[in-house]
Symmetry: C2
Subunit: 655 residues, 2 copies
Amino acid sequence: MGHGTNRVEDMTSPNTATARETIVEIHSVCLPPKKTTFQKLKKRFADVFFPDDPLERFRNQTWRNKVILGLQSLFPIFTWGSQYDLKLFRSDVISGLTIASLAIPQGISYAKLANLPPIVGLYSSFVPPLIYSVLGSSKHLAVGPVSIASLVMGSMLSESVSPTQDPVLYLKLAFTSTFFAGLFQASLGLLRLGFLIDFLSKPTLVGFTAGAAVIVSLQQLKGLLGIVHFTGKMQFIPVMSSVFNHRSEWSWETIVMGVGFLIILLTTRHISMRKPKLFWISAASPLASVVISTLLVFLIRNKTHAISFIGHLPKGLNPPSSNMLYFSGTHLALAIKTGIITGVLSLTEGIAVGRTFASLKNYQVNGNKEMMAIGFMNMVGSCTSCYVTTGSFSRSAVNYNAGAKTAASNIVLASTVLVTLLFLMPLFYYTPNLILAAIILTAVIGLIDYQAAYKLYKVDKFDFFTCMCAFFGVLLVSVPLGLAIAVVVSVIKILLHVTRPNTLEFGNIQGTQIYQNLKRYREASRIHGFLILAVESPIYFANSTYLQERILRWTREEETRIKENNGSTLKCIVLDMTAVSSIDTSGIEALFELRRRLEKQSLQLVLVNAVGSVMEKLHKSKIIESLGLSGLYLTVGEAVADLSSTWKAHGQPRI
Amino acid sequence: MGHGTNRVEDMTSPNTATARETIVEIHSVCLPPKKTTFQKLKKRFADVFFPDDPLERFRNQTWRNKVILGLQSLFPIFTWGSQYDLKLFRSDVISGLTIASLAIPQGISYAKLANLPPIVGLYSSFVPPLIYSVLGSSKHLAVGPVSIASLVMGSMLSESVSPTQDPVLYLKLAFTSTFFAGLFQASLGLLRLGFLIDFLSKPTLVGFTAGAAVIVSLQQLKGLLGIVHFTGKMQFIPVMSSVFNHRSEWSWETIVMGVGFLIILLTTRHISMRKPKLFWISAASPLASVVISTLLVFLIRNKTHAISFIGHLPKGLNPPSSNMLYFSGTHLALAIKTGIITGVLSLTEGIAVGRTFASLKNYQVNGNKEMMAIGFMNMVGSCTSCYVTTGSFSRSAVNYNAGAKTAASNIVLASTVLVTLLFLMPLFYYTPNLILAAIILTAVIGLIDYQAAYKLYKVDKFDFFTCMCAFFGVLLVSVPLGLAIAVVVSVIKILLHVTRPNTLEFGNIQGTQIYQNLKRYREASRIHGFLILAVESPIYFANSTYLQERILRWTREEETRIKENNGSTLKCIVLDMTAVSSIDTSGIEALFELRRRLEKQSLQLVLVNAVGSVMEKLHKSKIIESLGLSGLYLTVGEAVADLSSTWKAHGQPRI
C-alpha cells in the first residue's frame, strides 16, 4: 500500500474548499442530559422489567376505561369474549374437537412417559385448558401435557422414588413438583423476570429437545417390544443394554402390531406435513389407531396374553389433590428442583409456541402475562390431580390448521375430555400399551430438528457446539445436567466475547469521511501519523487489562511497520469508541493507564464518539480533563483533520 | 421540533452540488476476506490464549539465540543476571535487609492468622523468595506470606478441623492446600487462562479486602485484649459477642502494652505515608517493636503472667514436608477448595502488585509467566513446610521505596531469614502475642480503601454495589461466599448489559453527514420518513426477543408521534449496526422476524454498517438477499440519501 506524503490533502480532495472548511469545523461531544441517580435507576429498572411499557395503554383514559382495560389485561377472555359470535364459535368447535381427538390419546401416553397413571394425563387435559381459556392471551395455544416436561419429570423423580414400589409418594411428588413449577412460572411473570427464559437459547433447545426425543424414543422400545423388566435409567447406554439383555421378553405379537401402527402413524404424519390442508389425517389417526387397536386386542383377548393393555381406569372427574401436596420431608428439595426445571422447560415451550402462532397471525403475546397464566394454570392443576401442562407445539399446530379463532377451542377440548372422563373410560380397558408407545414415538420424532442443527453448523459454529453439548449432555449424562451444561456454554460464549473483544485498525476510504476496517475495505488506507483503532465491546473489568495490552501491542506493531517502510513517525492513537456501549471503573482506569504509557512514548491518545453513558463516566472520573481539549472528538474525520492542522500550525514536519 | 418538508435537502445544504453528488455515491458493504473455519478458529484461539503473541521475539532468530531467549523467558534471572554488578547489588542488599526486618515479624504474625505455628511463617519467608528470584519477572515483588490468603486459609480450614485439637492434621491440610494452590496457579499460567483472574474486578477486590481486613482486625482483639477462650468463627457477630462475653479474661497489662505499641506502629506508618522518603521508619518499626516488647516481657517475666508470649520455637532450616501432603481421605475436597480460593486470591494480589510497580518503572510483567512462577514457588513451598505465599503489597512497596533494582533483593531477604532460622530463634521466646496482633492490625488497616469505595460510588453506582456485596458478604456470611457473591454480581452486570441493551434514536446534525443520538445532541433532528435506530450491543439469544419487541415499540411510538404532529408517513427503519459487534443465530432469526413484521406494516428495514463477523453471518443466512439491494448501506447518510432519491424517482409524495 503506497503512502502518499500528503494523505490529509488526499482525504479531503474531492470536496473542494467549502467542504474542507466544513470538516475542520469541529463538533463538540455532548454530555447526555443530566439525570439524578434515581432517574437513571428508574430508567434502567423500567428497561429491565418493563420493556413493553405495559401502562402505555392506560394513559389518558377515564377511570371506567381504566378498570375495563385492567380487567381485559388480567383476563384476556374479556377482550375477545364481548365480540364472540356464532361464526367464531363454529370454527372453535371444529378445532376444539380435532385437538381433543389428539389430546386424549396423547394425554394418556404422556402420563405414562412421566411414570404416572394414564388417567392423570386425561385429568391434565381437562382443568388446565379451562383455566388457560380465561387467562391466556394466545388464540391458538392448545394446552395439555407435553412430551419433554413429562419425560423430565419422570426421569428426575424416578431417580429417587420408584413409581412402581411407592406409587402414592411418587404421585404426591409429581403434584408437588407441578405446584412448584406453577409457582415458579407465575413468579417469573409477576416479577417480570421472563427474560430469564431467553437464556435457553434456540441452539440449546434444538440440542436438548433432540436429545430428549431420542431418550423418549428409546424408552418406547419397552412398549413396542413388549419388554416387562425395563431399566429405570434414562441414559443411552443403560437403556440399550437393557433392550438387548431382555431379548427373551420380546413378544412378536406386540412387535408386529406396534410396528404396523407406527408405520401408519408416521405415514399420516408425513402426508399432513407435505400438505398442511390434510392436517386432519394426522390429527385423527392417533384416535383412530387407538380405537382400531383396542378393538383388535378385544377380539383376540382370549387367544393371546402377549399384548399388555391399560386395564381399568377410574371413571369420574378430577379428584381434588391439594391434600397430596408435600411441603416438608426429605424429598422436598427434589420436588422443588424438578418443579423449577420442568417449569422452565414447559414455559419455554409454551411461550415459544404462543409467539410462533401470534407472529403468523400478527398479534402480540405478552410473555410475562403468559407466564402468569401458565403458572396459575399449573398451580390450580396441582390441586386437581393434574401434572405439569403447557401449550404443546404439535396440538397447537393442529389447532391453528383446524381454524381455531379464540381460546374457546380449549373450552371445547376440555368439554370433550369431560365427556370422556364421565362416560367413555371403560372403552380404554383393552387399549394396548404398544399404541401409546407408537403415538409418543410419532410425536417426538418430529422434535429431532436435524435441519435446524445443520443450519446452525453452517451459520454459527459456536451455536452448533452449544447445540451438541445439550444433545450429548442429555443423551449421555442426564436431562437436567445436559440442560445446565448447554446454558453454561451459552453464557461462557457471551463472557468470552466480552473478555476478548475485537480491536480493528481503521483507515480512511479515499474521497469520503468514512473510516473503516483496513482488513475488510481495500480502498481504505492508513493516515500518516495516526493509528486509528476501534474497540468492539464495552470496556469492563473482564477485558480492561487485555484491551490495554492489545492496544499497546497494536502501537508496537504499527511502529515496526512504519520503521520497515521508512514512514514518518506515529504521533497519535485515535480510539473510536462508537461500539463501546458501556464502561466501568476498571475500564476507566485502563484508559488512564493507557494514556500514561502512551505519553511516555510521546504518543497522544484521542477518544472519538464516546456514547452517552460512557461520556458521563469519563466526565465524572476527570479523564476528559486530563486528556485536554484535543482529546475528544465526535468523528474520526474531525479528529484527524483538526490534529493535522494543529501539527501543521506548530511547524512540525508536514504530513 | 419543527419538521421542514424538505429535510433531505436541508441535510445536504451546506455542501453544494459537488458534495451532494459525493453523498449519493453509494459505497457497497464488503464481506470480510474469506477464511476457513480452521483459520477463524486459529485466530480466535490465538486471541484468547496468546493475546501477547509470545513467540514474536523468536521470529527470525538463529537457533543459538532462540535457545538463549527461551532460557531467559523461562528463567528471567538469566535476563538480568548477566548484567548484574556491584552497584545493583548494593541497592538490593539495602532493600533486602529492609524488607527482611518487616518480613520476619509479619511472617510470624501471619502464620498465627492462619492458625499455623509461628515458625511456618518464617519457613515461608525463606524458600519461596529464593525460588521467585530465579523464576519471577517482577523486579520489586517481595515474596512471603500475606494477610488475606492467611486469613482465608485459616478460616476455611478451621471450620472443619480444629488447629488446637488436631494440629498435625491441620498442618497437613495447610500444606496440601498450598500444594493445590500452587498447582492451580501454575496450571492457569501454563494453560494461559490467566485472564480468569480478571473476573475478580477491582470493585470486588476493594470490597473483599476491606471486609477481610475488618475480620482480621476483629480477630486481633483476642491478642490485644488478652482473651484466652476466643470463638473460632470469623463473622462479625459471633466475634463481637465472643469479645464481650469474655470480658473477665481481658487483661489490663496486655491492653496497655498492646494499645501503646499499636499507636507507635500506626504513627510510624502515618509518617511514612506522608513522606515516602521516610519509608524506613515504618519498615523498621515492627522489628523495633518486637525487640522492645520482647525485652519488656523478659524484664517483667517474674512479676506478671498476664501477658502471653510465643514460647519455644524450633531452630533450624525448613524440614521437608512432602510426606505430609494428603491426597486421599475425607478432607481432600476441603484442601482442594481452600487451595483454589487462596490460590486465586494470592495470585490476584501478586499479579496486581507486580503490575503496579512494573508500570511505575515502565517494564512489562507477563501475567501468565508470573502465574507459573508463583505457582511453582507454592508447589515447592508445600514440600518444604511453607504455606501459601505471594507478593505482598506492603513489603513490595517498602522494597520499591528502599531502591530494590532486581529480584536479588529476595535472595537477600531469604539469607537474612536463613540466619534468623539458624541462630536467632531463641530470641523470640518472650515475644508477646500482643505485638503480633498490633503488627497485623497496622498492616491490614491500610487495606480498607474507603477512598476507592467513595470513588466507585461517585463514578459507577453498580461497581459500588458490587463492592458492597463483597464487603458485607465477607463480613456477615463467610469469606469464600462473600467472594463468590461479588463475582456473580459482576458477571450478572455483564449479562444484564447484554440482555437489555440500549437502543437509541439517531438524527442528523444539520450541515453534516453525522448522525447522532437525538436525546443527547439538540442540534440533531429527525428525517422525514425515516426512523434511525442504533443498537448498542451484540445481538444474542439473550436479547434477540427483547430487541425485536423494542424496535417494534420504537416504530409504534414514532408512528404515534407522527400522527400527533400530522407529519408524513414513516417508510423506513434504518438500523445502525456499528456497535453490534457480534450476532448469533437467534439474533439473525430476530432480524428476519423483524423484517417480516415491518413489511406487514409496509415499512422497509435497512441495515447500516454491519461489522465483519456480523456481515459474514448475515450473508451465510441469506438475510442479505432477502433484504434486497437497498437493504444494506455503509453509512446512515448514504442510506438516507439513496432511499430518498429512489422514492422521489418513483413519484412518491415529495419528502
